[in-house]
Amino acid sequence: MKITLTVNDAAYPLDVEPRRVLADALRDDCGLTGTHLGCEQGVCGACTVLVDGEAVRSCLMLAVQCDGVPIRTVEGLAGPGGEPHPLQRAFSAERGLQCGFCTPGFLMLAAGALDHDPRLGDEEVADLVRSNLCRCTGYEPIRRAITRAARDHQNGQEGRHRSV
């Protein structure tokens, strides 16, 4: 099927089989390999991207379902001038990643939530962190990172690194 994926504001005209899941279309057809596949059953969340602003498992959506719908991936998280997103800074500052494989999923999950409501409370942040799997960090640094990013986002300030 001929479709056009609109990813991070760029158009990708594709000819895909209907069975092709969004994650594979993003990775192999659009060359956006920042989205990772960790389980292909919707559990781990490494493949989480924003479809029409909503954080979804891109292994549980078909590419053909996303024809013409705006998609955002980790490659589109930084600002237009390459300025890192507060989440990207916060993940580094709080050591919210080690091997980095699950990281894009957590970033996009949190980015979607921050877009909806920049005033994320502790319970909302916990709910987000509970949604994905990480095998390296033990999650607490990820919780701190999202909380920090929400704070920086609200303050609208450049996230300055502090000692952990």
Binding site: E17, R19, R20, D24, R27, D28, G31, L32, T33, G34, T35, H36, L37, G38, C39, E40, Q41, V43, C44, A46, T73, V74, E75, L77, A78, P84, Q88, R89, F91, S92, A93, R95, L97, Q98, C99, G100, F101, C102, T103, P104, L107, A126, V129, R130, L133, C134, R135, C136, T137, G138, Y139, E140, P141, I142, R143, H161, V164
Partner: protein, 739 residues
């Protein structure tokens, strides 16, 4: 820009620019999919790939019969060979029967679905005890027992007879799936007479030599590159049957071939950890002084003899633990079972040593009516006895175990929790709480024969410094930590130093990253190499300035005469005197990190649920190169330990097939919902065995945490003999134990 990211790895990993094997684009690459056995044990009667070959997008399909000369797995026994594709006998569920190559994974899977196979099932044995009976033989005419070993000497009967107290118990260290978020990967790219192998791997040089030997070609013709690797935890350190098939076909077809393991096959055929049935006897006098300890291990090691067969000896050697027990004897029997092989998983043999000892210490404390902390204190090896030679053949380098125990108790507020426990016991409406301790000692660096690595430091004309080492990072921040160490040693800005590792073309040799060895061996080696570079620089400057070497000094990245102000930086020195590069094989002895973990749990006896209220971990890994990185490792390791204690396990059906059909909905990794408040504390006892003083870090949580949690649950339920509490402490297990 530099301080925007705390680690050098961070920018690419946070922006989607990381490059894992599955992210690499190579023209003409084929994807491999394996047709896998659905039975655990059986005789293979037929594999028919003809329909698969006709499938659109499929480049080829092969069974073992179609690939004569396909080499078997290395390191086995001739009589019990492990073929890369099943030839006539299936010995574990998921064992590969055929391989299909397609232009992508979709088409390869289409082909795999059309491969017809017929297997006559045989009875399967999945526990060591069942398999040891030899009523079902994995190899006809041969015993399933693959190895017997011991550490220490047998303990005379009279020791047990004369002891005031003898505690006896049985424990199960369940099979665990290491479960890195990225499963195993390999991409083989043949170009001319060279083969480039990309793999998320812990030991690239070993992979190179094994593949070269298997393919019967010179080592130099194979290049192994480890790009970003999505976690490993021990599970990515070997060559696997699938790797052999992929490399073989890539060479034979002259086309790039890759295998990106998916989660479904990973849960079936990735290596697993632990897998021991244990029996212990612990004797003490009336004051609680330990007299003797005996550990008997029956290990289920999987379907084929392999490195993992000898691995339970780690448990035997570490059986003494952190105590001055004068008599310790450990015996091991490794038994082949109808499962994928048991192999190192984070902790690798030390959790299996710590857990039975620490659980039994708590039983002994109850028997003696002694506080479990006090019992431990009376028996911990005192600092003045180091180096300490154990009855099981280890020589511990250094330690201050009582300090770690005391810090853990203080951090936890031990007395306060005991008071809370008493309060709740007096209140029938309150849920019981329990407090559990675990003192551990582990071994880091590796065993004899792997206690070395290649290290190198090179100064460039442009003022940059390149560090090289044989380690391979799968998330341990090497690119940040090692340059910082070299920069500190040389007295230069860290930004000037970069690390090269994980590429056999770029390094004269290497061992890899496993057994908590990278900081201890490679770190100490890089510091040593940087020191040699300084010496060489001083010698060259001395010659240039016509001074004795003693009249030169080094500071702030430059050599200068002891008297006078002229200084020459590395860049200038290289320009004047030529390339300046140190390449060393650095060797060090093993070290013994230690610590105390403590847990507080609340148990709902009606449902059997365990809520961990608090975890405290005091770890001592000697000098920490980057304390925040060490803490990150410790934290993640503790959560994996929590997983073993409460959630993770591999249940089998009667047919010997793991009951994990729903993938990660059946094999339950801890989620954030399960994470208690965790306090990390450190003591610092540098190893005297290297000038750097770093011991291994990162496995402590898997070693210290599980018995602390199990002891806490037993304490909450006031179980005198908690054999019914076997990990994972799922609600049904706890409910039964409480009943």
């Amino acid at each position: 820009m530099v301080d925007r990211w705390l680690r050098r790895e961070d920018e690419r990993l946070l922006t989607g620019a990381g490059r894992f094997v599955a992210d690499l684009r190579v023209d003409g690459r084929l994807d491999a999919v394996f047709v896998r056995s659905e039975v655990a044990h059986g005789v293979l009667r037929e594999v028919d790939c003809s329909a698969a070959r006709e499938t659109p997008g499929v480049a080829g399909a092969w069974s073992a019969a179609d690939l004569p000369g396909l080499p078997p797995m290395p390191g086995g026994e001739p009589a019990r060979e492990w073929p890369a594709l099943v030839e006539d006998r299936v010995r574990y569920p998921g064992e590969a029967l055929a391989v299909v190559l397609g232009d992508d994974r979709y088409h390869a899977e289409d082909g795999a679905a059309r491969v017809r196979t017929r297997i006559d099932p045989l009875p399967a044995v999945v526990t060591a005890r069942d398999a040891a009976a030899d009523s079902v033989a994995l190899f006809d005419g041969l015993s399933n027992v693959a190895l017997r070993g011991e550490a220490g000497s047998p303990i005379a009967g009279e020791v047990w007879e004369r002891a005031a107290v003898v505690v006896e118990s049985r424990y199960r260290q369940q099979l665990l799936m290491p479960s890195p978020m990225e499963c195993r990967t390999i991409l083989c790219v043949p170009e001319g007479d060279r083969l480039t192998v990309w793999s998320g791997h812990q030991a690239p040089h070993r992979l190179r030599s094994e593949l070269a030997a298997l393919l019967d070609r010179p080592e130099e013709s194979v290049r192994v590159v480890v790009p970003d690797t999505g976690g490993a935890f021990g599970s990515k350190s070997a060559v696997f049957p699938e790797f052999i098939v992929v490399a073989w076909l890539a060479v034979r077809l002259g086309r790039p071939v890759r295998w990106v393991e998916d989660r479904r096959e990973s849960l079936l055929v990735a290596t697993r950890g632990r897998g021991q049935d244990q029996h212990v006897r612990l004797a003490a006098d009336a004051d609680g002084r330990l007299l003797a300890y005996e550990l008997t291990v029956e290990a289920d090691v999987g379907a084929y003899p392999h490195l993992g067969v000898a691995f339970p000896m780690q448990t035997a050697w570490m059986a003494t633990g952190p105590y001055t027990t004068p008599l310790v004897h450990a015996t091991v029997r490794s038994v082949l079972t109808n499962t994928m092989i048991t192999y190192p998983y984070r902790g690798a043999g030390r959790p299996e040593a710590t857990s039975p000892l620490e659980r039994t210490m708590d039983v002994l404390a109850r028997r003696l009516d002694l506080d479990p902390a006090e019992l431990r204190r009376r028996n911990l090896i005192p600092p003045e006895l180091f180096p300490y030679r154990t009855p099981t053949g280890r020589t511990y380098d250094s330690g201050d175990h009582p300090a770690a125990l005391d810090l853990a108790l203080r951090t936890l507020g031990y007395d306060g929790w005991r008071a809370e426990q008493a309060r709740r016991r007096a209140d029938p409406a309150a849920l019981p709480v329990g407090i559990g301790l675990s003192c551990y000692v582990e071994r880091s660096g590796g065993e004899r024969g792997s206690l070395h690595d290649y290290v190198g430091v090179e100064a460039g004309e442009d003022g940059t410094v390149v560090a090289r080492c044989g380690a391979a990072s799968s998330g341990q921040s090497h690119s940040t930590v090692f340059p910082a160490l070299v920069a500190e040693t040389l007295g230069v800005e860290p930004a000037r130093v970069r690390l090269i590792e994980g590429d056999t073309d770029e390094l004269p040799g290497g061992v890899g990253s496993f057994g908590s060895r990278s900081a201890q061996i490679d770190g100490a080696g890089l510091q040593h190499a940087a020191g040699l570079l300084i010496e060489e620089a001083r010698e060259r400057a001395a010659r240039m300035w016509d001074l004795p070497v003693e009249e030169t000094a080094w500071s702030e990245g430059a050599v200068h005469p002891v008297r006078g102000t002229a200084a020459m930086g590395l860049s200038e020195l290289v320009k004047r005197t030529g390339p300046l590069r140190i390449d060393e094989r650095y060797e060090a002895d093993m070290a013994f990190p230690f610590g105390t973990h403590a847990a507080v749990v609340e148990v709902d006896p009606d449902l059997g649920t365990v809520r961990v209220l608090r975890l405290v971990a005091v770890d001592d890994c000697g000098r920490a190169l980057d304390p925040a990185v060490v803490r990150g490792q410790a934290f993640g390791s503790i959560v994996q330990g929590l997983g073993q204690a409460l959630y993770e396990g591999v249940p089998f059906g009667d047919d010997g097939v793991p009951l994990l059909a729903n993938g990660l909905l059946d094999y339950l990794l801890p989620t954030y919902a399960e994470i208690p408040p965790i306090d990390l504390r450190e003591t610092r006892t540098p190893t005297p065995r290297t000038p750097l003083g770093a011991k291994g870090a990162g496995e402590s949580g898997c070693i210290g945490t599980p018995p602390a949690i199990v002891n806490a649950v037993a304490d909450a339920l006031r179980l005198d003999h908690p054999e019914r509490l076997q990990m994972p402490l799922t609600p049904d297990v706890v409910w039964r134990a409480a009943a």
